[in-house]
Symmetry: C2
């Protein structure tokens, strides 16, 4: 691994641990074991490192949201989808628990994040629409109801890890993640056909079993 990649990896680790605003380039250079001059050879400033991290996040995120979503959407695949998205939120937690601060410092990043967010909410909408078209979701409020489900799913997903951190949980465990997946699932659960709902909830529990 070259210095550029090591700088990116160190930044991710430090920001996840301490929060983005508490991590400056001197600290990143020292912890990576490179000189500040070498860091500035690769990145003009801290924001450029954050943008490189966002590149990775965006790439993985688009993959995670689009992978294995062919119809019909089976319960096991929906459970696996929830798990993949939570794993990603955990690995890039500095971003989701400090979004507004990061975007305020970098208008270019703000534009890119807003585009990704809009795309993600639209994807969630189309997944819920797919479940409805498969006959597994009864939606009393039509397209407006589906849009609301997609947005609430986004709000809970993007804030769950931050909520655990705010709550002062020192070490986040598997049970905390399962609780989050169940909270997320409870957004759509009351609209699902009962056996379909039960199968997804079972699959969520099974996925975490050793």
């Amino acid at each position: 691994m070259g210095n550029r990649e090591r700088i990116i990896e160190t930044t991710l680790r430090l920001m996840n641990e301490l929060g983005a605003e508490a991590v400056g380039t001197n600290r990143i250079a020292a912890e990576t074991g490179v000189s500040p001059g070498n860091l500035y050879y690769h990145f003009g400033n801290r924001e450029e490192i954050v943008r490189a991290l966002f590149d990775a996040l965006e790439h993985e995120f688009r993959d995670v949201l689009q992978r294995d979503t062919e119809r019909p959407l089976a319960p096991q695949r929906i459970a696996a989808f929830y798990l993949r998205t939570f794993d990603l939120a955990w690995r890039y937690r500095f971003f989701f628990s400090g979004t507004l601060g990061l975007l305020r410092r970098d208008p270019v990043l703000a534009g890119r994040y807003q585009a990704l967010q809009s795309w993600a909410i639209a994807e969630l909408d189309s997944i819920a629409t797919g479940i409805a078209e498969d006959g597994n979701l009864a939606h009393p409020r039509g397209a407006e109801g589906i849009a609301s489900l997609a947005l609430n799913t986004w709000l809970i997903w993007s804030n769950w890890i931050g909520f655990l951190q705010i709550s002062g949980i020192a070490e986040i465990r598997r049970a905390d993640m399962t609780a989050g997946i169940n909270q997320l699932f409870d957004v759509i659960a009351p609209y699902l056909v009962p056996p379909f709902e039960a199968a997804i909830r079972r699959a969520i529990t099974d996925e975490w079993a050793p």
Copy 2:
């Protein structure tokens, strides 16, 4: 209004506008029109001003969550409850969109916030339990289902204004707040008895009417 109160008010305005992490004591003193020495006469550091703001937030918040919640809970009172809580989230938006950063800098504040959050989630739980006992909520998953409703309500409420800010909405309008109240209401809506649900949704719209 004395200098102490003016310093608190200026800090709230600046932090709401720019984010807590971007606002230091020099800027606060300059915008208040007092000397740094005068600011330090009233507050030992920036964290002490934030704690004073949190005192005010906590006081108002406990009032807002407990006021007018006698049973039976009528639709108009539930709608008014949503409106009051959104107004508070708006006025203290720096806190809710930068919580983790603020708590990381001040362990005493972290403990106080965690206690307030636990209390709020328990209050939301008891409000939902009250609606169920009034016969207006059918809860297929019992106490566990109610707890999940309370937690999702908290997650959406505490993150809605931050979501609007992250989305780059330059000026937040009444329609953005109504949208948030409807998102929040959609957490509990699918469990409500239909005429009760319809009456609350109507009351939310009416409350905003000129």
